[in-house]
Structure formats: structure tokens, C-alpha cells
Symmetry: D2
Subunit: 312 residues, 4 copies
């Protein structure tokens, strides 16, 4: 991630201001507010604003007049109850706003979550920067044979080097031609004074999907947790999972009690199907079962054994 | 509106706290934060929390790194542009949370706006207060003859008194029986120690639609303005319009530039249909038109004349 | 449920029409289309229209050009996979539209599900019918002592009779006064020709929450299943659960493969928290545990035992 | 647009089936159902399914039991009323599902409309086809000088040829390298049996934004009209406008009365700001005004004159 000096200055200027407010304040988020938390080679996540804290969840669940005098422990208990019983509306009462810089192919996955507000940097209006994602060698993996939408073994150093060479050359050429189409230099000057530049809304189509874009993304806590549940999952693509991981840290700093409940009842929890539950009951009754006698499919059996921490 | 002493104390306690924050602050909203702004005979609107200000709209539209150094006048210009061209996403970057006390029949209209977050006081879990709406005599009107869903002339004092008598008697009886069903006194004690009370989730069905409920309601600025456009409109029912009016004041205090743009391009604006526009062009070309020669229906002609400020 | 003869005729007239279409057709839904399926004493659920079937889920998951030639068994397999892995978007590709008649207090719970389209009968525009919900004696229960939002023991016949008397008298009086306020008889004539009627939008506030309203409600399959998951649950209030139960039958008739998957991976499934899972692993390893030694709270222990089918 | 023979066969097979249904049928849509309506050089729009017709809008507005016996003319009147007064919920009762093939940069604009259901072809799971968008020479335009997000003059033939050369070469190379990264030939065979292919979820990042993707997109009529209002607008980018234009035709075939109302009260209508309205009143009162004396900004004056059909 390379912030320009001007961007770094703007961020510091904003961090240096402090104003009094009657609203609730999250000390954990105030600490990191506006900072660019690095992700991938040029990306970042910045918390720009937030509304509410753990207490706001409790307050909304009770529709109360003030903050109440309840103890932290009671708040955790109520928040656990709400999370377990999927009473989601009190979690919607907290809101957070991020500024995210991310490769376009990641943005395209991300935007499938529709219950959020988005303002993306416009490549119709402005010129995109010359920044594209190149995976680190250890993340370059072959197509998985068992999972049609996953990765298998990491590439050999030689293969990785060939792949990175292709990706880099193509991205560099594609940006160079983008500038030629626009008739504009790195300094924003015309390349050739006698030439007109192609409309920005057209020229952008020459860029590849690993170029970085950026957006403001605002979401309530309930929908954020749902997003993180899906995107911090091991089955999610690595390049979006690293964003989810950084955002999990911001949730922990913001609403620690809700984060605890989320770990206990979502991230660390497991859902057993009706059939898996029946198998489990037989096991607890002392029956010795293997996949064949369980009646489960191979995949379901493997998943159940994994959930129960038994080597398959 | 009658806050209990305890409620008033809780609100004052919260108003008296002040904490430092790095977030943007709206001085206008800080001033009124948590205060119960009275509406109707027992209702209120309280601003509980907010996120963003006029600058946040501009910042999101530009996807910028800091607050920028732009002038207030330039911000107003950009906000006007966004409002005129219905670029709604930057307005979604501001969020506000209200605590509202309102009659159930008003709540039922309000909830039809689905793009908001709601936590309502639960009458399955708690007992509703003995508070119901009785219109002031000057708002008791006959059914309109020309508009199937509107009010006509105000009732005569004698009729108004008869109507209020009926409404009051029925509401009082319905609450008295609600308590009998629950087997509970005003003090929350059993009426009769040898009796069991009906489940709260059933007893509530005896209450009439003018009883007050309350909720936390959270919404982004774009959707709030849409709500206000419809509910501050003269065609909206009086009992919801008075809530919208109080909320308009909170918007003005919160985001004055967005409020200006809203007045100019929504509240004070008028939309002319294709046919009305064609008639207007003929008028400007000097043609003398009346309803018959215009080709418009009577209603459309009347609406056009009203928009143009011409006595029909 | 009492349909007027005219309503019954209109429904039959619509059922008797048959038109050719190129769209997919669900034989199960065609069979019951437009029929009023009775719920409670005066309510109903009618399926008015639908889009898609099991095949449409598969087709959307594959973004395919035609219906494909896949076998039913393969479709069930893919649908199971989608359900288990919470790939919800293909289920959003099916849509259903209901006409529902339901007590207002049920409607108020229902409407909290915001991801649906609703058109409710307008009591500003029209006069509500004289129909209100009275629970059958076996559903009149005392407030639960252990669960603040549930029912306990069924009332004694004597208590039930007293309760029903109160509810019935109040509802009848409230409707009688509603008509007096409106100055209208059962036949829609003025009660008193010299009198004006109160505006409908005001008079309705005198009705109690057990009066019936009706609406058109349209929802996609994914959001419908989420609704049914919450409302067909034993913790849901009886009066909304009976609607959910009837709608479950319509889902089974409409998309049998999706319904199977829903039973297997949602209705019949159980989610174990991180702590419950750890306890389960210890049990499977042969440790003899009770609530105290498990480290779980009493409620969590009881829920785990119930899930595992062990008498507590 | 080039359908493969197999795709064309699948479409024809589906078109040839006809089934009886009790649901309402739109003859206009049945006529074109499943057909690929061509857009741009390789794109298309196909109507896959639909629910409702003009009558369904009326039926929902009235919450009626049957189709009613109203005349077409009365239906048009009610639909006009609903459209003018922005009663949007009855329009939400109709639903349509499209299969769309479109360049990725168009898909990225399109997806900003969040109130729809989407299933996109997965490039994690499958390999994208070798199809990319190349603008026709007459749509290659220079950046507009007056409008930061628009197009100005069409390029000279020489410039156009140079631009197309760049775009074509880069897209072809990018696809060739995509296949090399995947180690796969046009026939889906390994290029080199001793080589492993890069994971599909990574390889796709080498493709440029003019490559085609495809999705199933389902939306209700109200939100579709909102989409078309914005995307059939002359200010929308040409490459999305052509999709909107084709979809407008499908709306006309589907719900002709709603389409009429949409033209009269949206597409052909104009909204005048508070200030513009004041100026208009002065003009109608006979005052001779120009931009300076009007008090409007140059842009507002120009827009008002354009709306009034007066040469600026």
C-alpha cells in the first residue's frame, strides 16, 4: 500500500482533530479511526465513521430511554441471547463506514452483498491509478481437482515466476495503452497536443480485473457479521478473506461483546443437518459407525467427522 | 407527552455526558440530542444517534481521503447537483437513529417504508402503558366527499364532543379490560391473587389502534428524505404529517446544505407530465387555453393551474 | 372463514380459466391456485401467482440457456448443496404471491419481515368488515412464568369463558361505535341522514387489534423460507405459526426438492455453539458429563440435551 | 451475438413447449419468451419468466378477490393515478426475470441497483468465453470537455482505427494468456500435459473489463422502471443505454398500460425546481426574462429552456 504524501497528510490532519460529542463513543475504534490498515499489495481498509457500541444493541433491544445502569456482564448475557436466537434487529442499530481499496475482481464478489451503501470511485469521471494486484508467490496455486471453485497445491517457484511474469506484463501494457487511449501522461498532461483522448468511460475497458478500485462502504452490524461469516470462511477466495480478516479486527475493537457472541454462536459454531443429527444420536448411544453404515454421503460424513474433531 | 420522572432523569443524565471523538460532529443535532420533541398528545421524537454531516456527503461523492479543504459554498453546489440528478448514494452515507412514540395506527402506516431498521417495544414481553391518542377537536373532520382517502370539514363542537366521548370511553374500557385479562393493577401487582393472568401476547389484542407504541427507528439520509417527501406532503394523514414535520426540523439542524437542496429540488419542486408540459408550451407560445381546449382532464388541469400559481 | 357468495364466485371464475404458457408450471400450485386455505376463525391464505419451480433454482445456479436435461435426482443433489452452503441467490429466482386475511396484531409481527412486497387493504379508503379474531378455548393460555414472551398452562373452562366474554363484548362494541363514528349501517347507508360521518382514517382508530385486515404479500423463495424458519418455529406465537404451517404446505406443493432440502438443513437441523461443540467432543470421547461439569449454563445444557434427544 | 448451435437448440426446445396455467398470461411476453434479443456486438437480453400483467397491478391496489370486471380504460386510469401519485407498491406485484449477456464494465454499473436478484456466471467455477466488446467506430468518441463523465465528438476514422487496434490486440492477448495460465486449449484440453493450470479464481484477473459475462437478473416492475428511468436516460453511458432500450420494449410488450403511464409521468415528464417554477410563473405573467434577469444559473436556465422547448 502506497499512500501519496498528500493522502497521508489528509489522514493525519483528520486524526488530529478532536471534538466533544454527546453520542456514545467506541474507544477501540477511535484509536484506529481513519488509519489505512494494509491488505494485499496495494489495498487497505479504513474505518471512516461509526454509530453505536455494545450498549446501543442492548438499548435498542429494550427500547429504553437512557443508557440504563446495567452491568457489562448482563449486557453480554443479553447480547448472547439475541445472537443465539437470531434476533437480528438490535444488531442493525449499529452502523460502520469503511473506505476500502481493493482489486476489481474482489470488488465484484463483494458487491453481491446488497444490504449496504456504496460509493465507488468513478472511472467515467476520473482516471484510475496505475496499481494492480500481483499475488505473492505463496498464494499462486493450481486449480483444485476436488473443488471446482478452489485452489489446490501451490505452484513451483518456476511456474509461479512464469505466471507472475505474464500477469505483470499484461497489466503494465494494459495501463500503458489506457494512457495512450486517454492521451494523458503520468502527470495528467496530454501525451500529444494534437491528439484527442478517448472518453474515460470507454478507455477504462482496457484495464484488467486486477486493477485497484476504491469505495466507501457503509453497513449495519448485523449485515456486516453476515458478510464476515461468508467471507472470513476458509472456502472464501483468499483475496477477499484477507479483507474480512482485517474487518473482523475492527469489529472486535468496536463491539467486543457482540464479537464474543459472534465467535461463540457463528464463527465457532456448527450446523448439523437432520440426518447428521440422527447419526450423532446413534453414536452417542454407543453404536460404532463408519461412513457406509451411517447412511451419510462421503462428503457429509467427512464434514461431520471434521466438525466433531475426529480424524477422518 | 408525559415522561415519567425516571425517564426524564435518564435522558438528562445522558445529555450531561460529553466525550471526545475524532468523528465529524453536527452541532445542530448535538444541541437537541436525546430530547423528547413532543408530537400529538402523548407522542414524541427523540434523536438518539447520528453518523455524518453535509461534509460526509461530499466526501463520499468524491471517495476522498480526508475532509478536504473545500468551501461551504462549493459543498452546497455539489450537494445541489447530486440532489437534482438523483445521485442518491452519497446521501445514503449519513445515518440517523430516532426513538419515536406514536399511536399504533400511525405506526402501521410508517412501517410500510421498509428501508429502515426498527426495534419496537414488545407487547408480548411487556405491558403497554395506558396512553391513547385523542385528536384535538380542530382535527376531527368529516369524511371528504371529493377524496376517498381524506378529510373534509371540521366537525361541529357538538359532533366533536360526541366523537371524543365515544373514543375516550372505548379506549378506557379497553385498557381496563386489558388489565383484567392480565390480572394486573396499575402498580404491576396481581388484581386477584387466586387468578392467573392471560398471556400478554393474547391480552394485547383487546387494545384499540389509538394506543401508543414506541420504537427505535434508524434510517439513512436518502431514505429519510424519501419518507419525509411522502409523509410531510399535504395529502398525508395529519397524524403522521406532524411527525414528519418535527423530523424535517431535525434534518435542517443536522445537514443544512442537504436540507436546502431538498427544499429546492423536492419539497418545493413540481413534476409536470408529458401532456402538461405540452400544454405549458402552448401557453408560453401565447395560446389562450382553458381546461376543455387543453385536452387535459379536469384534475390534471387543476393541478397544473395550482402548480403555476393560477387561481383556477 | 366466511367468503361472501360474490367472493366465492370470483375465485371460482378465476380458477376455471386456463391459458397456454411457455413458462414453467408447478402442477402442485396450479391445483390450489386462488383457493382460500382457512386459518384461524376468519382468516385465510390464498396463492395468487408464482414464478419458477425447482428447475428454475438449478437453471439460475448454472446460468443456463435452457431447462437442461438433468435428472430429478441430480437437481435434488444440487439444491441440497446450495441449501447447505447457504448459496441463497438461486432460491431468490422463484417468487410467490399470496393474498392473506389475518388479525391486525398478527399483521404487525409479520410486517417486520421487510424483504417482501405488500399491498394492504386501506382503512383510510374503505370500511373494514365486522370480523375479529376470538381464540378457541384451547388456545387461551396463562402467561408463562419461565418465558417472558410465551404461554403457559391453558386456562380453566371458567376462566376461558370469562376471557372470551370480555374480548367478544369489547370487539362488538368497538365495531358498533366504529359504524356510529362513520355514520354508516351494515348496508353502507347513512345511519342518520342529518349527520356527517367522521373521516375513515380517524374512525378506524377505535377498532381493536384482533380485527382482521388483508393484504397481497409477494416474496422470493429464499426470503419466504427465512420467514417460515422463524414463524413455523415452536417459539413463534401460535396465531402466526398457523399461517406459517399452511404456507409450508404451499411450498411443498410448489418446489418439492427445495422443501426437502429445507427440512433437512434448516427445520430439522440444529446449530451447536462453540462451547456446546466442545462439550459434545468430550462426551464422544467417553467423558461422563452433567450440566455442572460441562461448564455450560443450565439453559444451554438443556438445549444441547434436547438437540441430542436425551431426556434432561 | 453468436449463440452456439447447442444454445440455440436449447432455446428453441423451450420455446416449443406449451403448458396450461391458471395464472394470468401476457401475450406480448409469451411471443418473445426465451428469445435472445441482440445488444452490442456479442450481448443479449432474454426474458426467462414473468409474473403478473397490467391487471395484477389493479388487483393488488384493490386487494381484490378476483380479476374483477373492470374495463381496460378504467384500469389505465387507475394505473395513471398510481404512477402520478408515486403509489409504488402495486407495481411491485409484477416480476420479471432476464438472462443478460453484457461486458463486465457494464455489469459493474448495472449491479449498483441493489433491489434485484442476481445469479452471475462464476469465473471461479467455469472458464469465460473468448468474447469481448469492441465499440462500433461511430460510438468511439473523445472525452467531453463540458461534461466530466460524458462523450464529446466522434473520433476521426484514423483515430478510431488506432483505438480499435489497441483494444483488440490487448483483449486477444489477455485471453490467450488467460488460457496459458489455465493451461487449457479452446477445446478445454490441457495445453501441456506436464503442466498444472493456475486456479480459475486467479487466472480470471488477467481479463480486461470489456470481456462478456452473463447473469440471471430478476426484478419487480417498480424497481425495473426506476432502473430504466436512470439507464435509458440520454446521460447514461451508451453501452448500458442500449440494454435499457431493449428492456423498455419488453416492458411495453408485457404491461402496456403501465408502460403508457411510465412514458407520460416519468420518461416524458420534467421536474422543475422551486426556483425554476418561480421563473416560469414570472414568464407566464408576461415578464420578458433572460438568464441574467431570471436569477438562475446558466446551467439551470439552459435546462429550463430545454424543458420548455425554447431554443437556448
Amino acid at each position: 500500500m502506497a499512500l501519496t504524501p498528500e493522502q497521508a497528510r489528509e489522514i493525519e490532519a483528520e486524526r488530529n482533530e478532536s471534538r466533544p460529542t454527546r453520542r456514545v463513543v467506541s474507544p477501540g475504534l477511535e484509536e484506529i479511526l481513519f488509519r489505512a490498515l494494509p491488505v494485499l499489495d496495494h489495498g487497505f481498509v479504513r474505518v471512516i465513521d461509526y454509530m453505536g457500541d455494545d450498549g446501543a444493541i442492548v438499548q435498542a433491544a429494550r427500547v429504553s430511554y437512557g443508557r440504563g445502569t446495567k452491568k457489562v456482564r448482563e449486557d453480554q448475557g443479553l447480547i448472547n441471547y439475541l445472537m443465539r436466537h437470531r434476533h437480528s434487529t438490535p444488531f442493525e442499530m449499529c452502523e460502520i463506514k469503511y473506505h476500502v481499496k481493493l482489486p476489481i475482481f474482489v470488488a465484484r464478489q463483494w458487491i453481491r452483498h446488497r444490504t449496504a451503501n456504496v460509493n465507488e470511485y468513478s472511472a467515467r469521471y476520473s482516471i484510475l491509478d496505475n496499481e494492480f494486484y500481483l499475488p505473492a508467490a505463496e498464494h499462486l496455486a493450481a486449480q483444485s481437482e476436488s473443488n471446482r471453485q478452489g485452489r489446490g497445491d501451490v505452484l513451483s517457484p518456476k511456474d509461479a515466476s512464469r505466471v507472475l511474469g505474464l500477469l505483470k506484463d499484461d497489466a503494465e501494457r494494459s495501463y500503458k495503452h489506457y494512457q495512450e487511449l486517454l492521451n494523458v501522461t503520468d502527470d495528467g498532461k496530454p501525451m500529444d497536443d494534437d491528439q484527442v483522448g478517448l472518453a474515460r468511460e470507454l478507455a477504462r475497458m482496457n484495464l484488467s480485473l486486477n486493477f485497484y478500485t476504491q469505495w466507501y462502504w457503509k453497513v449495519d452490524l448485523h449485515n456486516l457479521l453476515h458478510f464476515l461469516c461468508l467471507r472470513a470462511d476458509p472456502h472464501a477466495q483468499y483475496e477477499i478473506r484477507v479483507y474480512a480478516d482485517v474487518m473482523l479486527d475492527t469489529v472486535k475493537a468496536w463491539v467486543p461483546a457482540a464479537f464474543n457472541a459472534f465467535q461463540e454462536f457463528r464463527l465457532g459454531a456448527v450446523t448439523l443437518s437432520k440426518s447428521a443429527l440422527a447419526v450423532l444420536r446413534r453414536m452417542l448411544a454407543g453404536e460404532a459407525l463408519d461412513q457406509a453404515s451411517s447412511g451419510l454421503s462421503k462428503r457429509e460424513w467427512a464434514e461431520l467427522m471434521a466438525a466433531l474433531g475426529r480424524g477422518e
